[in-house]
């Protein structure tokens, strides 16, 4: 290969590495101090870009010069910093002590709110930004033209690295950040004003996100998908570097930048896959990233989030379950076509949510990418029917098999990790699947998906398909529920409660988690297969992050501590969504706000609250203290 070309290519890799580093350093600093993985970091980045395309042109009107451009960029970043500080004061400081899953979801709620706000304020169309004055020309390196602005970006990355180093080493604030990253309980015990430290950290993190966003405006047209696309990349950078480590983020950004710059030459379609594969490999070899350290809290005995006690169905429960089944059986007879359609969707989502709860509530495996297996099932069924001419029946049987196979493959790596790293890896694998389905247009139809996924003629009527879906979902749910009460489910719960103890009584913790992951993936795949036939089509939204989040919300809404909670949650969530979504342009804002409210005031969900009520009105058998 031409050496000049290699130099240019690696320089452009450096430029994107530089942007990535600026953004990722903010996320990693915030995580180090607060232990919260801030999903909304991508939204802050997007806000930085939108503010910059608004402010910078105004300033350039006054004086068309580079200092004015930079002033605009800095102003945008400062405003984002203030927004970040406000976010800490309003939301984050209320969720420092809730489980990781809730934190991730709450910050994702912010993502949803910001998305609708941005559309409301700036509209859904892309906005091209102004070029930077004095940096519009090209520089010739080995006779190849290279944009001056890209060189400037490389410089900014190095300046930010230097300034961060100075801040961390030479200022009291920096020392406190480093101390809190190592042991925040100790910092608190030493009498440091936590509130000030945390708000300040969020300001710094958000400022860096905003700066990263504002600096992009000459390179890319600002758009409403910037938040999700950057956050997955930044997650990868911080996870590979080690969460909380600024040097780690720098090294990881350099690696990712080069990987993208050269990967695009070799595998133009799957650079994203390469990036996620790198992350998977790094995590398997170094489970805490290149520069990360195991969390000091690991191994401490805390009550796990999820199922705490299993009780058999009482009379009341049997009556409720019986009535629910009768209502479902009667729905196609008495309901109109629309109700039957919604009914099928509720059944399918109930199975998907139940399979997710099997992982989270029983196994303590917090999957943030469960839509992957739902989507693989849907795509498997859809592609078998439309591309290979399969009938519905074998396609419905193969959908869970194929989804289970992928769950086994991904799960093999996933179950080696725990906590936030595990959640990140599930997200990464889900994004790989999403990227493949999105980019492999020839097979999957890309963004448009594939239409014509119809059931066999005998099941073509909605009513018959409803009964078919009911039979499949109900048997799968009963089978999974049975597994929860069987030794397998107990062993899975044992491994969650104390992996050390489980290991010391001969339970192969990894194997049992792997098995559970596969089983759960297969069940989600069955749900996906059923879904694709009910829709008659497949498309990438079935695998997207919002789908994973919807499933998580169903589980939480229903209540994570009860076995049937996710079923209630799926029914409630889908009915609400179906009712409200056509009525409002702000569904995402509504959903985001609801998630936050749920995390803050309703952490045990509907079924959890119901069982709390029944406990209150039932005479206590004997005074043995209440569960915490």
């Amino acid at each position: 290969m031409d050496p000049a070309f290699i130099v240019i290519q690696s320089l452009s890799g450096l430029a994107s590495a530089s942007s990535l580093f600026i953004i990722a350093s903010g996320l990693t600093i915030v995580f180090g101090v607060t232990r919260i993985v801030n999903f909304a970091h991508g939204s802050l980045y997007m806000l930085g870009a939108y503010l910059a395309v608004t402010i910078v042109p105004m300033l350039l009107e006054v004086d068309r010069s580079l200092p004015m451009f930079l002033l605009g960029v800095l102003l945008s970043a400062l405003i984002v910093g203030v927004i970040g500080a406000a976010m800490e004061i309003i939301l984050l400081r209320r969720i420092y002590h809730v489980p990781e899953l809730f934190q991730l979801l709450a910050t994702f709620g912010v993502v949803l709110i910001v998305q609708d706000l941005v559309i409301k304020l700036w509209g859904a169309v892309e906005i091209p930004g102004p070029r930077a004055p004095s940096l519009r020309h090209g520089v010739f390196i080995f006779d190849q033209r290279f944009p001056a602005y890209e060189l400037f970006l490389i410089g900014v990355g190095l300046v930010v690295l230097g300034l961060l180093w100075l801040l961390m080493q030479k200022t009291r604030f920096g020392v406190l950040i480093r101390a809190a990253t190592q042991d925040r309980d100790m910092v608190a015990a030493l009498g440091v004003n936590q509130a000030w430290l945390f708000t300040g950290t969020l300001f710094l993190g958000a400022f860096l996100a905003g700066l990263g966003g504002a600096l992009q405006i000459p390179r890319v047209a600002v758009n409403t998908q910037m938040d999700i696309s950057i956050i997955t990349e930044v997650f990868v950078v911080t996870v590979i570097g080690g969460m909380g480590s600024v040097p780690g983020a720098f090294v990881a950004a350099l690696i990712i930048g080069q990987l993208q710059a050269f990967g695009i030459l070799i595998f133009p379609k799957i650079t994203l896959v390469l990036v996620f594969l790198l992350m998977a490999v790094v995590l398997v070899i170094k489970p805490w990233g290149l520069f990360g350290k195991p969390d000091a809290a690991a191994g401490r005995a805390v009550l796990p989030e999820g199922l705490l006690s299993l009780r058999r169905f009482g009379t009341v429960d049997n009556v409720v379950a019986g009535v629910a089944i009768i209502v479902m059986l009667a729905l196609p007879v008495f309901g109109d076509n629309y109700m039957v359609k919604v009914g099928i969707e509720v059944l399918v989502l109930a199975l998907a949510a139940f399979s997710l709860h099997f992982l989270i509530g029983v196994g303590g495996i917090v999957s943030f990418g469960h839509a992957a297996y739902f989507g693989i099932g849907a795509y498997a069924a859809g592609l078998l029917v439309t591309r290979l001419g399969f009938a519905m029946e074998p396609a419905l049987i193969l959908a869970p098999v194929i989804a289970g196979a992928f769950a086994a493959l991904f799960g093999f790596f996933i179950v080696r990790l725990s906590g936030i790293y595990l959640a990140m890896l599930t997200l990464a694998f889900a994004q790989i699947v999403y990227a493949v389905c999105f980019q492999w247009v020839g097979l999957t139809g890309g963004d448009n998906g594939v239409v014509g996924v119809w059931p066999s003629s005998w099941a073509a009527s909605r009513q018959v398909y409803f009964y078919l879906a009911l039979a499949f979902t109900l048997s799968a749910i009963i089978a999974l529920r049975h597994a929860i009460y069987a030794p397998f489910g107990y062993a899975l719960r044992a491994a969650r409660d104390s992996a050390t103890r489980a290991d010391a009584i001969g339970i192969d913790v990894r194997r049992i988690r792997w098995f559970a992951f596969t089983l759960s993936g297969a069940a989600a795949g069955l749900a996906g297969g059923l879904y694709s036939f009910s829709k008659g089509s497949i498309d990438p939204t079935m695998i997207s992050i919002p789908m994973s989040v919807d499933l998580l919300v169903m589980v939480l809404l229903g209540g994570i501590q009860t076995v049937i909670g996710p079923l209630v949650g799926a029914a409630a969530f889908h009915s609400i969504k179906d009712f409200f979504m056509p009525l409002t342009d702000f569904w995402r804002m509504f959903l985001g706000a609801s998630i936050i409210v749920m995390v803050l005031v309703f952490p045990r969900g509907i079924a959890g609250a119901a069982s709390l009520l029944t406990e209150r009105f039932r005479p206590a058998p004997k005074p043995v203290g209440t569960p915490a």
Binding site: L303, S309, D497, S498, I505, P627
Partner: protein, 259 residues
């Protein structure tokens, strides 16, 4: 045959020698305590026997079979049960279910879907709970118990696999003095009745001298004494090591008295 035979065990962490040519043996039904100052290598030795750590060199034989380097769950399968310095139980389960898990695993029924775990091996679990005096609390959630009782439950879990050897890492750490004596009494009784060898580390000298048949004194990774409690008590080298410790302890007490 000797139940546990350890020969020439070595382990270094960087420049620190945590175990140097450690060798000892344990007969069935005997109770052997490992004592020594902090950082003497007690836990290291212990973890090399139970499989948590792989020795740099040396051999651990259980009933004549080498077990060094095996994973903890394989070591368990060969007949070693253990308890932890900070009790490890399944906090979402009841007392009986905790013990049942041990039994289910011992009978190789973990990957079973056809039964309800709640009812499996319950009578056996209740018998084990009876043994440690926790039968009356069988259906309480284990997370509601006082710490001393949790330790007893942990002992019952460890006994579920009918072990030949019981490893107990600081069994009385974090317990009230009265509870300590009870737990050690129960352990000693069960060990003698069932011919189980017990290897334990301990900081509480009362527990050590009252309940062990033999004591091993480790200092900086090396065994400096190995004998009956009386012999160890009389050993000059041991006195020297522990006098230093006592001196520090006394100084601490005196200082606290003044404040």
């Amino acid at each position: 045959m000797t139940l546990l035979k350890v020969t020439g065990l070595n382990k270094r962490f960087g420049g620190v020698v945590a175990a140097k040519d450690v060798a000892f043996a344990l007969e069935a039904g005997d109770i052997l305590a490992i004592i020594g100052p902090n950082g003497a290598g007690k836990s290291t030795t212990f973890n090399m026997v139970s499989g948590q750590l792989r020795p740099d060199s040396g051999e651990v034989l259980l009933d004549g079979q080498p077990i060094s380097g095996l994973a903890p769950r394989e070591v368990w399968r060969r007949g070693i049960g253990r308890t932890f310095q900070i009790a490890q139980t399944f906090v979402s389960m009841s007392v009986a279910e905790n013990v049942q898990m041990g039994l289910i695993s011992w009978h190789d029924r973990i990957v079973t879907f056809g039964a309800r775990a709640e009812t499996l091996y319950r009578p056996e679990a209740l018998r084990l709970l009876d043994l440690v005096g926790m039968r009356a609390d069988a259906d309480r959630p284990v997370r509601e118990l006082a710490y001393g009782d949790v330790k007893r439950v942990e002992l019952a879990i460890a006994l579920a696999s009918a072990p030949k050897l019981l490893l107990m890492d600081e069994p009385t750490a974090g317990m009230a003095p009265k509870e300590r004596a009870q737990l050690m009494d129960i352990t000693a009784t069960i060990a003698r009745q069932r011919k189980i060898g017990v290897l334990f580390t301990e900081h509480d000298m009362d527990a050590v001298f009252a309940h062990s048949d033999r004591i091993l004194v480790l200092v900086r990774g090396e065994i400096i004494a190995d004998g009956k409690p009386d012999e160890v008590r009389a050993n000059a080298r041991v006195k020297q090591v522990y006098l230093g410790e006592m001196g520090v302890a006394a100084a601490m007490r005196a200082r606290r008295g003044r404040v």
